[in-house]
Point group: D3
Chain length 252, copies 6
């Protein structure tokens, strides 16, 4: 179900153990070949497909497109919440649902830069409500929910998701091809290893002149469709585990 379409009496009648999903993404540069709304388009599509499968088994909030994108601010058009504001924004959305009595909440994310703040927010929320052992507060980035994404289509060559690379470009080609510009001319930009296994603070300007990472030129709509299906099924599986949770134990 889509929260946006319901009236307050509709919502009042829902079982408070219903899994709630809060999709979050970003509005940030995605290379010379893709629109700034890419992450939001893709997360929105994965959520739309999952909502269709799950029907009355889950409640979806509208997508929050404003993300944690300060590392892209050197590129015109990027909109980004201040890092602490973003933590408050995420915590606040979950608190709204807790206020209404819901107990099982998933922040489902479609932007790499939201990964750390999303985990931080979930930690803070659980600590604020430390006595509520009946709460199931989750955060996940959609492409982590279905490992083996590179096997979703036989022709995929990138080993992992990369900013505006083969995977994302394929998905936008499937969804809104009119918004993609000359991706076949986009150069390969290697991932690099940074200082792994340490985490290094970075901005995109440190890593890529055009603003993407990976190989957009390899993108096709067929790969995009395969990735959408792969990621949607990962998300559906997680929500089914949320619904099946016994309300007590650590595992699900």
């Amino acid at each position: 179900m889509r929260l946006a379409d319901l009236t307050w009496p509709d919502i009042d009648s829902l079982n408070r153990d219903l899994p709630v999903l809060i999709p979050v993404a970003a509005l940030e540069q995605h290379g010379r070949h893709m629109p700034v709304f890419t992450d939001s388009l893709l997360m929105g599509e994965v959520a739309r497909r999952a909502e269709k499968v799950l029907g009355r088994h889950a409640l979806f909030a509208p997508l929050q497109w404003l993300g944690n994108s300060h590392h892209h601010l050197d590129f015109p058009g990027t909109l980004s919440a201040e890092p602490r504001l973003y933590l408050d924004l995420l915590c606040g959305l979950v608190e709204n649902f807790l206020h209404h009595g819901f107990r099982r909440v998933l922040i489902i994310n479609g932007h790499g830069g939201n990964d750390v703040p999303g985990k931080q927010a979930i930690f803070e929320l659980r600590q604020r409500h430390r006595d509520r052992m009946d709460l199931l507060l989750l955060f996940a980035t959609y492409w982590h929910l279905a490992p083996g994404g590179h096997a979703a289509h036989p022709d995929l060559q990138q080993p992992e998701m990369g900013h505006a690379g083969e995977w994302e470009t394929s998905m936008v080609l499937r969804l809104a091809p009119e918004l993609v510009r000359d991706h076949r001319q986009a150069p390969d930009v290697p991932f690099g290893q940074g200082f792994e296994p340490a985490s290094r603070g970075w901005t995109m300007r440190d890593r890529s002149e055009p603003g993407h990472i990976g190989r957009p030129a390899l993108a096709t709509p067929e790969k995009g469709e395969a990735l959408f299906e792969h990621f949607t099924s990962g998300l559906v599986r997680l929500v089914e585990r949320m619904e099946a949770w016994d309300g007590v134990t650590w595992d699900g």
Copy 2:
């Protein structure tokens, strides 16, 4: 133009005197007869129509649906930013555009509860950039831009916008009639005068059991269409004044 559809080089090529619009609204209860996304649907439609008219003369950010709605939190489903978070959210969005060099920014609002924080945000922003006399920072609620809304259609009976009343119900009937439930059964809820001309702090529970104010039963899609046209033209006029501004004087 829609920011969401552009690439960063597209945005980089824009004249920084272009008027920028940031539509904001809310997700909050709208009575027993309308969906919680009502304000966002309506603001979105007004923005969509204005964008169509203005074309390359204005840049529209996507709608920020999370609003300042704590006064509706007693009704299930309402999502609302903490009041100070909402101020930061508005300021942050405008700061993003200033960072990219834009100088003429309008926060265009579709929810009564955003009116005071929107003005507060614009005040704060102007003071932070006190030396920038080239900035035009505006806030407006769409139904204030075209006075005489009650004259937009001859059968309109409410004298002003009321929460989920004749006007808003008419507009949703025009836009998404399948989301409206039994509005003809909705009781009349008088506006009351509160302690005017003083401002009284309130929550909706103080004023209305069903959650609306006004007369939803009078709504028709024809009134809705007339109101959309009326409000859209008011917004377009304002953006034209923004574009025509000389970049120096107080008046526009």
Copy 3:
């Protein structure tokens, strides 16, 4: 009654339904012809006159002269709280009275720049105490309480209050003529329309070189006396409505 003059046992003995008034104003430039304490002098005088009329029917806090005046900071001598600090200051004063059990509180204001933050503060306070339907939390700017101020004296020519214009200068001439300098030489500064009906962020330097708006040269002490009486009676009426409130309903 004046809170300042009472002992704690005096206050302890008061009925907690007594209307409480918190006068707030500013210390900011008022043109070349008037002292920086103008707003505080005038609000103080209106409060003094109202207190005299109301006697034991209301409790007046001392005037808080520090206001929200960042838009005047380019003029030497203006003192101004940071915008968020000002919100906290207002909320804190009201919270103090709620802590002592009072339920009916009016922030009565004498400075235009406090208008938006005053409304924001009242909103925040009501939401923090969302379950307290017995609270009556009000904010009002004194010259809004008595519409038709321009009719208070037959010779008044300005249609509305303007910063350090005919109205304010008249009142200071009545109250402390020794503090007014050469107001007859002060030029007329038109109000302008800004981008109305949109709200534009501004600083006084955008609008007036000498720092006033309106026509100070027209001021006379007689007009000042008439305005004081007009505004005082508006305030007294509001406090009487506060006292008469039934403790439950929205209207008063």
Copy 4:
């Protein structure tokens, strides 16, 4: 000079090395026998006398009566800023004067509870402007400026200032005897030693049922006059040192 009485051009013409004084006090319970405005009355009188002596050699802001009085909040009528808000309030006032170019600022205090936050504020301010070696930022509580207060009048018996005791009651008797109630009946309340030399957190309820400390019954207006003169001369001496400062060295 009193800032409140000046116009902005007056202030603009002042030498920025002029000592600026910001008097601060409190509105808090002062026992069963004295009004809640006691600290503000006394600080105001000391400032008034010093201003008269100093004339054009110093600029006095109006008294900020809202203080750091949470330890008195259990007594009805006490108004008090949240501790961090109070720090921001003090810092903000000094920043206002720095913004206008003044370099020598004294926060002059008349309430014991402001002593620690006043020092904290001065510390923070100096660190924020760490490169400004031309700044002289001072905080002082008026009764610390003139040691030997107990010798100001031969009949004084309390060895030091105590909350609403012999000294303060004497001064209010001198200034506004009509506001003092039955001080001769007020019991002696010993100072106690707490855990000195350690600092113990306390509230007045821990220490005194009536709300005062010391011996109010001993108060006379003659002692009050002597104390006013003693404290005023201490303040005047400090301001003279501020004016005489060479603008460079640590000592003054």
Copy 5:
């Protein structure tokens, strides 16, 4: 080198490209068999050994033992910074070194609960100094720096680090056996899978009654020594990469 032992002229003479290490850990419950300072003891020992190897090639701050441990607060003795305070604490320490001109800083961590806030802090720091492409800001948890820890000693049976389990207990047995109580009686507590690959907010009470996870009974000092050596070498390798960095590129 240990920062603590140096004078300010010593530090002034250092090359600002020297790698700086800030060790952080925690003071929190570590099961019934180990002291609350466990994480700090272990991180301290790894840092001590690395410092000995690296000599003048790195500067070590003292260990900050206060960590992000709210998920352990239900167990007596745990000390923990509020989540946002912890972010500020980490950012502040790095800012101190940037203030003194250092450019290559590693927060080296010995507590799982610091992992997310450590990454958040590094992100925030890099964004605040977005134009400083010469900065190398790193965060790493020591046991992630040397993959294959389970192979460090042939008898290790746990596949990974677990709170107060085989690995940590072995290291404390090596370092301070007198502080370990009856670890052989400690029950096996399985890791569980939570809702992986989603991140779930948790407190230790959700997962373990005694407060540990894993198999403490298997611990031996020999395993501890092997783990210390393994982890130390991982840290040393990372610092060598920091030193060898060219000051420009993303990879190191």
Copy 6:
């Protein structure tokens, strides 16, 4: 007892009236002749000696070495918490112990710059828990606990503690002579009087080129030993008063 060495069941078994000590100090420049960790070394030694004397009569947290040292930031190597962060840090540590049920807490301090924020923190804590009359919340700087320090050894010449002067240098000579450099060459730096009795905001650069105040050249390890004993006995006496407190009265 040392908290660091205990397990959570150990702590769980403690009487919650046990005095808890939180030692705090700093890492900041201490002249050309002493290491930046001087304050922490000295506070640590005083705490170590007191812990030995008090045994099971007190619980000692580990020393928090990060202090309020912004006034030393112009000297390389100084690490310092932002002033407000430092307040939060102190409050948070005490709150942790209150959370675990302890009622008698002393922040024991070894750095002059922590004196004002320590008192501010204790004030804030007591007000937050205003109804808890069973709380004994103390702050003390160790050299204030034993007046007459200058008489601890017959050869001491400085009248009081001075930053890195005769007293501190003597104590480091006693504790870690290998860390002291050429103190006999260090010049005498007079204390000066600042603007006493007013408090002046300062940075060390205002007062001393080498970074110390007083006469380091006079230091000897014998004086250091005498001072350690003198200060330790002062601290032990205070803790004994804490233990003997009746749990009710103001005095101890």
